[in-house]
């Protein structure tokens, strides 16, 4: 036990504003204590994330696909056995004797009933095993129809440290009172910048390897895909989200799931920051193999604005940026300069121009 500590003020504050200031001071000291504990190593990085993940092991919502089926089946198997050896320990002197007497006296009856219950339970368990085997066979068959996975290095990953949109993303979620999720947070560059800006941010990324630098910096990160993570986040638990990276590769059904999750996991008034490559920029930056095999395609900023608007988000005008492949006009001295520049304008508008965009939206309902 630690010793008593004095509060920040010696006498009880008298009016309401003083009381609020006093509590603000206490909260600031508590935050400082947490930072001190983290810095001292008392709270290893990732410890809190490990607690969350451990709880998910006990929760039906934390298990996915085959793991969930097999885990549930193991629970059925485990509870199919009924123990008739009732405990006879007792705090009272004669209690144990009476309990043993009852157990002995009723043993033949309990045996008869329990044998039938166990037989029934095992039959049910066996039936579930058959069903699960069939489901797994079906899943294996469906797997063969999936799009092939792309090599990881085929996906261009922008560096958030130098990205044109990082400052705007930080500004959009600065001051958000609840937690902010950074999807596909990678090595934690953007996440670290958000935390430095006073945002209570954490990150997810499906790759353990990519996350190592973030873990080494003591950032709160979890090894999970964005959709899998959002599924287990409580409703209206997030004050903000920054989505980038794999967002542009989502299959149509995954995009629908993501949109559904966005609208339930963000608080009303919460901020969504969405960064993506334009379809044109994407087509120009990846190889023909990736273009042909990619399961999904990036959307235009206007499409995201439409999808989010239809789900109750107020969407600010998208901001374009990134590599600008705009063709420059030819000089007036060139032959047919006017005609050529008009053609260049058309090309710039249809095919070239900025390759990325940033959408900031606020959940209104």
């Amino acid at each position: 036990m630690t010793p008593d500590v004095p509060g920040p003020g010696a006498d009880p504050p008298s009016d309401a504003s003083e009381r609020i200031r006093y509590l603000d001071d206490v909260m600031a000291e508590i935050d400082a204590e947490v930072r001190r504990r983290r810095a001292s190593g008392d709270l290893p990085a990732g410890l809190e994330a490990e607690l969350d993940e451990l709880f998910l092991e006990f929760s039906p919502v934390g298990l996915q696909g085959r793991a969930r089926l097999r885990e549930t089946l193991a629970l059925v198997d485990g509870s199919a056995y009924v123990d008739i050896a009732v405990p006879t320990a007792s705090n009272k002197a004669v209690g144990s004797y009476v309990k043993r007497l009852i157990r002995k006296g009723l043993g033949w009856y309990m045996n008869f009933v329990v044998a039938q219950i166990v037989k029934f339970a095992w039959s049910v368990s066996r039936m579930f095993h058959v069903v699960v085997d069939h489901v797994e066979a079906l899943e294996a068959a469906v797997e063969t129809h999936r799009s092939p996975d792309l090599p990881a290095d085929a996906i261009p990953v922008p560096d958030p440290a130098t990205a044109w949109w990082t400052a705007a993303a930080i500004e959009a979620v600065r001051g958000v009172p609840d937690r902010v999720l950074v999807a596909d947070c990678g090595d934690g560059t953007l996440l670290g910048a958000l935390c430095s800006a006073g945002v209570d941010a954490y990150g997810v990324d499906p790759s353990d390897l990519v996350l190592e630098p973030a873990l080494a910096r003591g950032l709160d990160v979890r090894s999970e895909g964005t959709i899998d993570h959002l599924r287990v986040v409580a409703g209206e638990a997030l004050g903000g989200m920054v989505l980038t990276g794999s967002l542009q590769w989502l299959r149509p059904n995954e995009r629908e799931q993501l949109l559904e999750l966005l609208t339930t996991r963000l608080v009303v008034g919460g901020t969504l920051v969405l960064h993506s490559t334009t379809p044109e920029g994407w087509a120009a930056s990846v190889s023909p193999v990736v273009r042909d095999l990619a399961p999904g395609r990036p959307l235009h900023a206007e499409t995201w604005a439409h999808l989010l608007g239809s789900r109750g988000f107020a969407v600010a005008d998208p901001v374009a940026g990134g590599g600008d492949r705009t063709l420059a006009h030819v000089g007036p001295e060139a032959a047919d300069a006017g005609t050529v520049n008009s053609a260049i304008d058309v090309l710039n508008e249809l095919l070239l121009g900025p390759t990325e965009y940033l959408v900031v939206a606020t959940r209104e309902r």
């Binding site: 010793p3 504050p13 983290r38 607690l51 969350d52 092991e57 039906p60 409580a234 409703g235």
Partner: protein, 364 residues
């Protein structure tokens, strides 16, 4: 004569909505108004206090105002949608279904239905009465034309509840000097008991290795309750986390009084009566700012912006060690309770419902 009749899905004893409904009926009758209770189901103890809701049409009179105690799904909602009388909603909030998805299908279906019923009733009502501004905003968002915030009627004795001293001594003997964290509320995913367990684990690691977590409340979502207790066992906290349900009022008062800190990490609360009970017991409060928790608590507790275990543990430690802070929070709690006295809440109900009844008479 003014007549305000209440409708409630279930009238149960020792239940917040049930107690509120009966107390409000008594308050309205004491004003000389007619006021009866109509239910879908009533507990045996309260059977004589209420009539089946479908009996109302035979007793309806011009000028009646109907008041619906809304906190769950019920055929009563469909019945009221078909009535012509002015309808007032007394909204106690419905937990969003997202909290139950994956845990309990029937509960998530039930709350989804309740939310659909709220959405259908809100525009039809002449007034929405809400326990909190948080609940009032929900009603307004669903199209309720007017809302008033009036807290739930809770009869809290300012001198404290009668404590079961035998239970108090039993608890004290059980845990000795260990710090005791307490939360009171049904074991349901929106209450985030797993976060309390995580906070206890962190608190034991950093501050007091013998600390305990006492959880009081029914296991209304058994799968979730089992997961929380299994999680605690996995962390080696099986003996440190104690769960009880069905306590008498005196026993509950003993559990409050026995605790060092009341900790609430709920993600969704429409009002949170246990905060008031904790203030009454003089147990300092640490709570995560979600739903209506902040407005119910006021400055009578430490309101956390984060529910991460390290922050919760540090806040509990501070409240537990800093006696000046603890006594200020307790004093603020007693002041805060004055905003929720049964007498003032009764007056507000009579005033608000009186205005609706007056308008109804003018129109009639």
């Amino acid at each position: 004569m003014t007549a305000v009749h209440q409708f409630v899905p279930a009238l149960l004893p020792r239940d917040a909505t049930g107690d509120h409904t009966v107390a409000l009926r008594d308050a309205l009758r004491s004003e000389g108004w007619e006021s009866d209770i109509y239910v879908e189901a009533a507990h045996e103890e309260l059977r004589d206090e209420a009539a089946y809701f479908e009996a109302y049409p035979g007793r309806a009179r011009p000028g009646d105002v109907l008041l619906y105690q809304l906190g769950t799904s019920s055929p009563v909602a469909e019945f009221l949608l078909g009535r012509e009388e002015p309808l007032v909603l007394d909204y106690h909030n419905v937990t969003p279904e997202s909290y139950y998805v994956g845990w309990e299908t029937h509960t998530s279906d039930k709350v989804a239905l309740a939310r659909r019923q709220v959405a259908a009733l809100a525009p039809r009502a002449v007034l929405g009465i809400a326990d909190s501004a948080f609940n009032a905003r929900e009603l307004a968002d669903l199209g309720c034309p007017a809302t008033e915030v009036v807290p739930i009627l809770v009869d809290l004795d300012p001198d404290g509840a009668q404590v079961d001293q035998a239970e108090r001594h039993r608890l004290a003997a059980q845990h000795g000097d260990a710090t005791v964290l307490l939360f009171v509320g049904r074991l349901s995913p929106n209450k985030c008991h797993e976060r309390l367990v995580g906070a206890l684990w962190t608190y034991r690691r950093l501050y007091d290795p013998d600390a305990r977590l006492h959880l009081v409340g029914p296991s209304v979502t058994p799968v979730y309750a089992a997961a929380v207790l299994a999680f605690a066992a996995e962390l080696g906290l099986a003996d440190a986390v104690q769960h009880r349900a069905g306590l008498t009022a005196g026993e509950l008062a003993a559990w409050y009084e026995d605790a060092d800190v009341f900790v609430c990490l709920s993600r969704h609360e429409g009002f949170c009566i246990p905060l008031l009970e904790s203030m009454q017991a003089g147990t300092p409060i640490v709570a995560f700012d979600a739903g209506a928790v902040g407005e119910t608590l006021g400055d009578a507790g430490l309101l956390l912006r984060s529910d991460r275990p390290a922050t919760v543990a540090a806040a509990v430690d501070r409240v537990h060690r800093d006696r000046v802070l603890a006594s200020r929070l307790v004093a603020a709690g007693h002041r805060r309770l004055e905003d929720f006295t049964a007498a003032s809440t009764r007056r507000r109900f009579v005033e608000v419902l009186g205005r609706v009844a007056d308008r109804t008479r003018v129109v009639a």
